[in-house]
C-alpha cells in the first residue's frame, strides 16, 4: 500500500500546479476532448436513432453498428488514424476516433428509448390526432429520455477511457502521466494519474446517473431499463409480431 501513499503524495505535491505538466491543464484537456466528441457524436447519432426507433426501419443497422464498434480496438483506430492524417494532426484523428466509438452507444440509447415506449401509448397519441412529428417529439422522445441519457453516459465513459490512450499518439490528457510513469518507472506518477482518471470517470458517471434519475422522476413510470412490468404480461404488438415472422 506504500505505493498508494506515494501516489497521493505525488497528487498533492505543489509541483502539480506549477510544474511543466499541471494537473488542471491535463484535466481540462481530457474533459475538452470528451465534451467535444460527445457533442459531435450526439449530433450524428440522436437524429439517426430517433429515425430508426420511430419508423422501426434500419434496426439491423443499430444492432450491427453497436456490435462492430465493440469489436474495433480503440488503440488500433487511434494509431492508424494518426498515421493516416499525420502526427501533426493527431487531434483531428483522435476526435474522429472518439466520435466513431461514441456514436453507437448514443444511437442505441436513442433507438432503444423510442422503441421501449409502450405501443399503446403511441397508438393513443395517434388516435388523438397527433402528427408523426408530434408523436416523436412530444411522446417518444420525452419518454425515451432516460435510455437516451444512458446511451450518452456509456458514450461519455467510452470516450474518457479512449482519451486516456490519446497520450500515446502525442496528445495530452490524463493518460500522459500513465505513459510517462510506465516508461520512466515513476510509479507514483503512474498511479496518481490512474487514480485521477478513475475519479474523473466516476464523477462524469455520477452526473449522468443523476440526470437519468431526474429524467425518470420527471416522466413518472416511463420505460425503465431493467424492469419490464413484472406483473403484467404484455400482448405482442404488431411490431413484435412482424419481428417474429421475420425470424421464422
Amino acid at each position: 500500500m506504500n505505493l498508494f501513499q506515494d501516489a497521493l503524495a505525488w497528487l498533492t505535491d505543489p509541483e502539480r500546479s506549477s510544474g511543466p505538466n499541471p494537473l488542471v491543464d491535463r484535466i481540462g484537456e481530457h474533459l475538452w476532448y470528451t465534451v467535444l466528441a460527445l457533442v459531435v457524436s450526439a449530433l450524428i447519432a440522436i437524429p439517426l436513432g430517433y429515425l430508426i426507433g420511430h419508423t422501426g426501419r434500419g434496426r439491423q443497422l443499430a444492432v450491427l453498428g453497436s456490435g462492430a464498434a465493440r469489436a474495433l480496438p480503440s488503440l488500433g483506430l487511434l494509431t492508424i488514424f494518426t498515421l493516416l492524417v499525420g502526427v501533426g494532426n493527431a487531434q483531428v484523428a483522435a476526435i474522429a476516433v472518439f466520435v466513431i466509438l461514441g456514436v453507437p452507444s448514443i444511437l442505441a440509447g436513442a433507438y432503444a428509448g423510442v422503441e421501449a415506449v409502450d405501443r399503446t401509448v403511441v397508438d393513443a397519441a395517434r388516435a388523438m390526432g397527433m402528427t408523426e412529428t408530434q408523436i416523436l417529439f412530444r411522446v417518444e422522445a420525452p419518454l425515451g429520455l432516460p435510455l437516451l441519457l444512458g446511451g450518452l453516459r456509456s458514450a461519455a465513459l467510452q470516450i474518457i477511457a479512449t482519451a486516456v490512450l490519446a497520450a500515446y499518439v502525442g496528445l495530452g490528457g490524463l493518460g500522459i502521466y500513465i505513459q510517462r510513469g510506465i516508461s520512466l518507472r515513476t510509479y507514483d506518477e503512474m498511479l496518481g494519474g490512474a487514480i485521477l482518471i478513475v475519479l474523473l470517470a466516476l464523477a462524469v458517471d455520477a452526473v449522468f446517473a443523476i440526470g437519468e434519475w431526474v429524467a425518470r422522476r420527471a416522466i413518472g413510470s416511463g420505460p425503465t431499463r431493467s424492469r419490464p412490468h413484472p406483473d403484467r404480461t404484455e400482448p405482442l404488438t404488431t411490431d413484435q409480431q412482424s419481428t417474429l415472422e421475420e425470424i421464422r
Binding site: G150, D205, S226
Partner: protein
C-alpha cells in the same frame, strides 16, 4: 501488403496469443456472473448493491485498471495475470448485469405455472428460469466476448504481448499495413468467437429457433442487452 507477407509468423503467433488471452476472462465472466446475477435477481436487498458495485467497476477505464490492479493484489506490473484479472473483472461486471436482466425477462406467468406444477425453488431455477433466460444470457455473453477481445489490445501498454503490439510498433515505424493487420485480426477473432457462441447457443437451446409464446419479451430483452451494454 509486403509487410504482411514478410511477417506471417509474427501475425500468427500474436493472433493465437491474443485468442488465448481473451478466452479465460470470457469464461470466468460467465461462470462467476451467472450465480451473482441470480443472487441479485432473487434477493431484492442484494440487487441494488450488486448492480451498483459492478456498475462502478465497469466505469474504470481499462488502462487505469491495468495500472491500479498490480499494487492492490500484489503482482508485477508486467505480469500476464494482471491483464487477465482486469479483463475478468470487466467480464464479470458486464455479465452480472446481463444475467440479472436475463432472469428478469422470464415471463412471471410461466414461472407461476411451473410452481403450480410442483417445481420447488431450486428445481425451478435449473429447469425453468435458467433455460428460459438462456437467449438473453447468450446475448450478454456475446457482448462480453467481443469487448474482451478488443480490450486485450490495451494490455500491450503494460507489457502484455498481443495483437496490440502491432499498433505500437506500427505507429513507431510508420507502417499503416501493420496497424491495419492488427485491427483486422482483432476483429476476426471477435467474429470467430461470436460465431462459435451463436452456434453453441443454437445447439444448447434448440427451442429458440421456433418462436414460442414468450419470444417477443425475450427477444426484446436480448436486443436491449446486445445494444445498450457497452465497453469502456
Amino acid at each position: 501488403m509486403n509487410w504482411v507477407g514478410a511477417n506471417r509468423d509474427l501475425i500468427v503467433e500474436l493472433t493465437l496469443t491474443h485468442a488465448r488471452l481473451s478466452l479465460l476472462p470470457i469464461l470466468i465472466g460467465f461462470v462467476v456472473a451467472v450465480p451473482l446475477g441470480a443472487f441479485a435477481w432473487r434477493f431484492r436487498w442484494a440487487r441494488g448493491l450488486t448492480l451498483t458495485v459492478v456498475g462502478l467497476l465497469y466505469t474504470i477505464p481499462s488502462l487505469a485498471l491495468f495500472v491500479l490492479l498490480p499494487p492492490i493484489i500484489g503482482i508485477s506490473f508486467l505480469s500476464e495475470l494482471n491483464v487477465t484479472i482486469a479483463l475478468s473483472i470487466y467480464a464479470v461486471a458486464l455479465m452480472t448485469r446481463s444475467a440479472t436482466e436475463a432472469l428478469e425477462s422470464v415471463d412471471p406467468d410461466v414461472r407461476g405455472a411451473a410452481s403450480a406444477m410442483g417445481y420447488s425453488g431450486w428445481g425451478r431455477f435449473w429447469a425453468v428460469d435458467l433455460p428460459l433466460a438462456g437467449p438473453v444470457l447468450l446475448a450478454g455473453l456475446r457482448v462480453v466476448s467481443v469487448s474482451t477481445v478488443s480490450l486485450v489490445t490495451v494490455g500491450v501498454l503494460v507489457g502484455s504481448r498481443n495483437l496490440g503490439y502491432l499498433f505500437l510498433n506500427g505507429l513507431q515505424r510508420g507502417i499503416v499495413a501493420e496497424i491495419a493487420t492488427g485491427i483486422v485480426m482483432t476483429v476476426l477473432i471477435a467474429v470467430v468467437f461470436d460465431l462459435l457462441l451463436a452456434t453453441a447457443g443454437r445447439l444448447v437451446m434448440p427451442w429458440t429457433r421456433g418462436a414460442g409464446a414468450g419470444a417477443g419479451r425475450t427477444r426484446r430483452a436480448a436486443r436491449r442487452v446486445a445494444l445498450t451494454e457497452g465497453p469502456t
